[in-house]
Amino acid sequence: MICAEQVSYSYSGGGQTVSDLSFRIEKGEFVAILGENGAGKTTTVKLIDGLLRPTSGRMLVNGLDTAKTRVSERAKQVGFLFQNPDRQICKNTVREEIAFGLRAVWGKQEEEKIRARTDELLALFSFRGDEEPFSLSRGQRQQVALASTLAVKPAVLILDEPTTGLDYRECTRIMEFIKTLNETEGTTVVMVCHDMEVVLDYARRALVMAGGRLLADGPVHEIFRDTALMEKASLLPPQIVQIAGRLGGDYAHADDAETLSGLIAAAAERRRA
């Protein structure tokens, strides 16, 4: 689905921001990109979306070179949810906002289809169509942005710190939507996220970046378990993984549990076996 071949990128007037990235992401995967601030995560996901074009190397999405694909063509394939929904929302009502993205991609001739799809999304997110986006709360605005991103049914969904600044409930609601989408529609999800608990709960695979390079690529649990790696990338694994590591023994082998009670139960299970 996504294939990076020795991709490097430098912003004009600066050194290389990301260097020599190579990875493959298959259809239906849920991948998190981890790394400290300035590691090059945003640059990497923008490269995947084609917002940036590699200075060297190739980025293929669905077999197409992003450097050679048109904006509207690419928007059909890849949806991008930014951290700041206010840069996206430009219409007076939620309905118009969702329809706007559809029109940009499907064209104005498809008015019937657009209306049907908009209704579907309004129901899915339980929005009122005539509500003004700018009077909604931050979390709800992020949901409006998500709805209009999902409207075109992209095969790949990119999320750049989608939950920053949201409260726990809003965060969970958005992540549950994305999880459902990933499981039922097979949407490929690539997520940049600073909240390791969210990563542990939702992502299955993680790419770790530092200084513009790819440090590691593997299942989320193995990545979190690797203390040397986490230190090198200046990351702190989720509490549950830390606890399991500290306890050692049976616990250390049961650290794929998501809750403390789960951890204890799994360790007990192992001991019995």
């Binding site: 928007a75 991008f80 930014f82 840069r87 996206q88 430009c90």
Partner: protein, 249 residues
């Protein structure tokens, strides 16, 4: 564009000059440019601008601004030449008066724009504001408005870039060749920009108020802005520029 309004520290005479004198000099160049129709005077003013740039140790920047304006100037020039019908026809629809007027307009644009950009290169915006308050007795609120407006330009540009990126990601084609399509794209740009600006204004007002904005008066400034020999020289040059522009036909 980002570096255009950026202050570059230095110790040239222009850096040391009183900000008010700098404003006076800038205005004099502008006034002189508008008073004269003589191409040679305009050309002289342009050279004067560039010399000031060199004296400020910002020759590179002066020339890059010059280069940046060149495209706009060329466009303006062609437009003027095509639309001015007066005077004797030289060839096709081009007249001698058209050529002269167009040249004057373009030169004037360059002459006026250069010092406006240069003054921000050699003066910190806060100094301009404080000097205006201290020397010219401008109320602080107005000076503050000016500084904030200038200070927000880079942020504004960044916000604009971010919005364009967000809209591009959802399939809006900013690189479209179609003019009508392009006009239609203005809206998804302007609405978010307006909203974010209004939000930022609110935040700035709160921040200013919290720091005692209302208590600030002319006496509040710590730095004093004196007048020296450079300032005297600049005032004389300013006068000479205007007198020259009026007297030379």
């Amino acid at each position: 564009m980002n570096g255009l309004f950026q202050y570059v520290p230095g110790n040239s005479p222009l850096h040391r000059m009183n900000p008010v004198t700098k404003i006076l000099l800038t205005l004099s160049v502008c006034i002189a440019a508008f008073l004269t129709d003589n191409l040679f005077v305009l050309l002289f003013l342009l050279v004067f601008d560039l010399m000031i740039g060199v004296a400020a140790g910002a020759a590179r920047k002066a020339f890059s601004i010059f280069k940046g304006l060149f495209k706009v100037s060329l466009f303006l020039f062609v437009l003027q030449v095509l639309f001015i019908r007066r005077g004797n026809r030289l060839f096709w629809i081009v007249t001698d008066e058209g050529l002269l007027t167009a040249a004057a307009v373009v030169l004037r644009l360059l002459v006026v724009c250069l010092p406006l950009a240069l003054i921000l290169t050699v003066t910190q915006v806060s100094d301009i504001a404080n000097a205006m308050v201290q020397v010219l007795h401008v109320p602080y609120a107005y000076a503050f408005t000016l500084t904030t407006a200038i200070r927000f330009i880079p942020q504004f540009m960044e916000e604009m870039g971010g919005i364009m990126e967000s809209q591009t990601a959802r399939g809006v084609e900013f690189d479209s060749k179609n003019v009508f399509k392009k006009l239609g794209m203005l809206f998804p740009l302007c609405a978010p920009l307006l909203i974010s600006s209004v939000r930022r204004t609110g935040a700035t007002a709160t921040a200013a108020e919290v720091r005692g904005f209302n208590l600030r008066t002319r006496e509040s400034g710590y730095k004093r802005y004196g007048f020296g020999l450079v300032d005297l020289a600049a005032v004389l040059i300013s006068a000479a520029l205007i007198v020259g522009a009026v007297l030379i036909p």
